[in-house]
């Protein structure tokens, strides 16, 4: 049983393809305060490697990456 992560904001990028999920995540993250958590939902099979790269490049920590109901779900903590 993994801990439940509580998000401050949800961003649904379902149906969007590269590079829109990365662009929208970056925009949404700018509106958060340091330490706050963004939950991002994507249907793009390219999202897992891309969101990991985005996290490494921006320093916003990827707390969890998982699949839920056939969708990819990511939790990022704002740097």
């Amino acid at each position: 049983m993994t801990d439940v992560i509580k998000e401050d904001q949800v961003l649904d990028c379902s149906g969007m393809l590269c590079p829109i999920p990365v662009v929208k995540t970056s925009k949404a993250m700018k509106l958060l305060e340091t330490g706050q958590v963004l939950k991002m939902i994507s249907t793009d099979p390219g999202a897992p490697p891309d969101m990991e790269a985005w996290s490494r490049q921006t320093g916003n920590e990827l707390l969890r990456s998982m699949q839920e109901d056939g969708k990819f779900v990511f939790f990022f903590r704002k740097k």
Binding site: G15, P19, V22, V23, S26, D50, A53, W54, Q57, T58
Partner: protein, 174 residues
């Protein structure tokens, strides 16, 4: 100046040299992805890439000269949409309006799949402070003036690009 200052963001320098729909996407996709990662991004538009700086984009695509281009129908059941239609060159070269049909099919397929339009990608790039630089020399050759382009476009030459690129972490010619 990214390399002289260790705290400066990474930098991406792109050259966009082609103006058809298939070549219009890669520079804008990479530019917006780079900007989303906090990178500094500049695109230098030269030769046919210059047309991507016009306010109204008319980028089209031709299956002629693109022999590997898949021809897909953007409507009907999934199995039908996945069929790759064989289009012999002889046929394409002789049918008037074939290019506009191919262009519309590609645009519709992209839209159905959830890909943004080139216009939307360019708007995003502008919003994310991507530098868009038009090549002065090719502007002169093709008779373009700065007023023919979107107001966000800057003008520069080879030295402008090289100076920018010399401090970039990634440089690509597209």
């Amino acid at each position: 100046m990214s390399k002289s200052d260790p705290n400066a963001p990474r930098r991406l320098a792109l050259i966009s040299s082609k103006g058809t729909l298939d070549w219009a996407y890669p520079p804008f996709i990479l530019a917006t992805a780079g900007a989303a990662m906090g990178w500094e991004v500049g695109i230098f538009f030269t030769f046919f890439g210059l047309t991507l700086l016009k306010p109204k984009l008319t980028a089209a695509v031709s299956p002629l000269g693109n022999p590997a281009m898949p021809m897909k129908m953007p409507f009907g059941p999934e199995g039908f949409q996945n069929i790759n239609w064989a289009m012999p060159n002889m046929l394409m070269a002789n049918v008037p309006g074939f290019e506009s049909v191919a262009t519309n099919l590609m645009k519709q397929t992209f839209k159905n799949k959830g890909v943004a339009t080139v216009e939307e990608m360019r708007d995003m790039a502008v919003e994310m402070d991507v530098r868009l630089i038009g090549c002065q020399m090719t502007m002169d050759v093709f008779g373009f003036k700065k007023e023919d382009f979107i107001p966000e476009a800057e003008i520069g030459g080879a030295a402008t690009f090289l100076e920018y690129a010399s401090d970039a972490d990634v440089q690509l010619f597209i």
